[in-house]
């Protein structure tokens, strides 16, 4: 099977000797929606930095479209054109003086001309509702706006794979919903999206497959429903059960629905199941 991105025996330790990833083997298909979950310090962000070529693993390899990552500057530039990453804290991503300049950063690095960059900025700002903010200094943006600007800076580069490190972090419910909608739209466009999240309801509803990390090791890699029906694994990886699954299990126990009924991913599916 052809994978867009996969790792083989990936291990990574930081300079201070702290081991972050051990023998990580993952494989993600093109267009797949993958969630990487795990408690804080489990290695999610380190894995993402390895997938983007920022962290070079001490052992093992990362492959993009079947080819081993070339860590020469040219090779890394090529990889980063195709694999975009949105960091957890938008303040880490935004460094230009204005929103327009920040969104343009990646495009100009990729060699787009000013007019081409302007065209793309116009289009992405319309899509992310940033049109009125383009000339605003970045320090005046709200948390939600900063998140959308950081997303715009990566999305405008049109990478094939988009990695989002805890996209809902630092956001209120409304802004988080907006960001989740944007992530949905990316998947609908056929992009391969990889996210990390602590919002298990979102993961259940959105992801096709889940990778669970615990202390730098992959402890589960498979279908979302299979993970959330496995209480033992959830407890082992210190993960929450989604609300929908809790209700689903309760309804099975009370005999409202039959055991083995398809696992609902959201309220609508649960309602359908009860009917």
């Amino acid at each position: 099977m052809d994978y867009i991105i996969n790792t083989k025996g990936l291990s990574y330790s930081y300079h201070n000797g702290q081991k972050a990833l051990f023998d990580v083997n993952i494989a993600i298909k093109p267009g797949e929606k993958t969630a990487v979950i795990g408690s804080n310090g489990s290695g999610k962000s380190t894995l993402f930095l390895c997938l983007n070529g920022i962290n070079k693993p001490q052992k093992g390899d990362v492959f993009f479209k079947g080819n081993k990552i070339d860590y020469s500057s040219k090779g890394l530039l090529n990889l980063r054109r195709s694999v975009g990453i949105v960091f957890q804290n938008p303040d880490d991503m935004i460094f230009s003086s204005s929103v327009r300049q920040d969104i343009a950063f990646g495009l100009l690095n990729m060699g787009f001309s000013n007019s081409q960059a302007e065209e793309k900025i116009k289009s992405i700002s319309k899509f992310l509702n940033l049109e009125g903010l383009l000339d605003k200094p970045v320090h005046e943006l709200s948390g939600g706006e900063k998140k959308r600007v950081s997303l715009a800076g990566v999305m405008v580069m049109e990478p094939e794979v988009i990695i989002l490190d805890e996209p809902g972090a630092y956001l209120d419910t409304l802004n988080a919903k907006t960001v989740y909608k944007i992530i949905d739209s990316l998947s609908q466009k056929g992009k391969t999206v990889i996210i990390s999240s602590h919002n298990m309801d979102f993961v259940l509803n959105w992801a096709d497959s889940v990778i669970v990390l615990k202390e730098g090791k992959v402890v589960f890699n498979g279908r979302t429903e299979d993970l959330f029906l496995n209480n033992e694994l959830l407890n082992f990886a210190v993960l929450d059960e989604p609300q929908i699954i809790k209700i689903y299990n309760m309804l099975i126990n009370k005999g409202v629905i039959e055991a083995g009924a398809p696992v609902p991913k959201n309220i609508t599916e649960l309602e359908m199941l009860i009917k």
Partner: protein, 256 residues
């Protein structure tokens, strides 16, 4: 604070090179002639432009102008004084034996000239600061072929000012919640802790930011998007006329 001032689309679209050259020419003509009437005219034009094109509250104007003007006034006032062994024309105060603290006509004139020249230059700088957002400054730096490293450094320093201020503010708030201001000793201790934390945090922040830049194909150069500006001849003409009027008023004042 200056950065968040609303400026009209009209002045925003004026080529920043014209604005910069205009402000610098006004400063230069005021400094060369040092004639109060010329400086008063320059100040009037600059503040008229600021008030017309920037939405400033009275409070903000007072807040921004008060301290620099007081500083200029105090410094100029001091220039008027001299220590002599004879009595001054305007003012004299015996200090010791035959020495006097005096103010002569020449000293007073010098102080007045210094005050108006500084105030006019300050007004021009305010005009430039209010009407030229940081992107425009980058544009000007690029136009004068400033080394790229300086332009990049300027932009990153500008961004980090706000990041560091935010960090410091959060830390001070957290410290105050835990009675850091209780005594002089705790206050000093809290400040030292805050400064060291800000240093370490900003270093970490710069590492994260560098990673973010790398992930967006950064390869050593920060490229800037060229902004488009209105190169209207009227603006150039206006700037030339204002500078010529300042020169003319100053020259006439000097002659008569």
């Amino acid at each position: 604070m200056i950065n968040s001032v609303y400026i009209t689309e009209y002045i925003k679209n004026v080529n920043p090179n014209i604005k910069t050259v205009f402000a610098l020419s006004v400063i230069l003509s005021c400094v060369i002639f040092k004639e109060p009437l010329g400086c008063i005219f320059a100040m009037s034009v600059m503040w008229a432009l600021i008030i017309k094109n920037c939405r400033l509250s009275r409070h903000l104007i007072c807040h921004i102008v008060l301290w620099p003007v007081l500083f200029i006034a105090f410094s100029s006032f001091m220039v008027a004084f001299d220590i002599t062994n004879y009595k001054g024309e305007i003012f004299s105060f015996k200090i010791i034996n035959s020495y006097f603290l005096t103010v002569n006509a020449q000293g007073a004139k010098k102080a007045i000239r210094l005050f108006f020249t500084s105030a006019a230059s300050l007004s021009s700088m305010y005009f430039l600061s209010f009407t030229t957002p940081v992107n425009d400054v980058v544009y000007v730096l690029k136009t004068i072929k400033c080394p790229k490293e300086i332009t990049e450094l300027f932009m990153l320093i500008y961004r980090f000012i706000f990041i560091v201020l935010n960090m410091a503010h959060s830390i001070i708030t957290a410290q105050n919640c835990r009675m850091a201001q209780r005594t002089f000793k705790t206050r000093i201790n809290a400040m030292a802790l805050m400064l060291s934390s800000v240093f370490v945090l900003s270093y970490n922040k710069s590492l994260f930011m560098y990673n973010a830049m790398l992930s967006r194909c950064y390869s050593g150069d920060i490229n800037f998007l060229n902004e488009k500006y209105d190169n209207n001849r009227k603006h150039v003409l206006f700037a030339v006329v204002v500078v010529l009027v300042i020169v003319l008023i100053s020259a006439l004042e000097r002659v008569f």
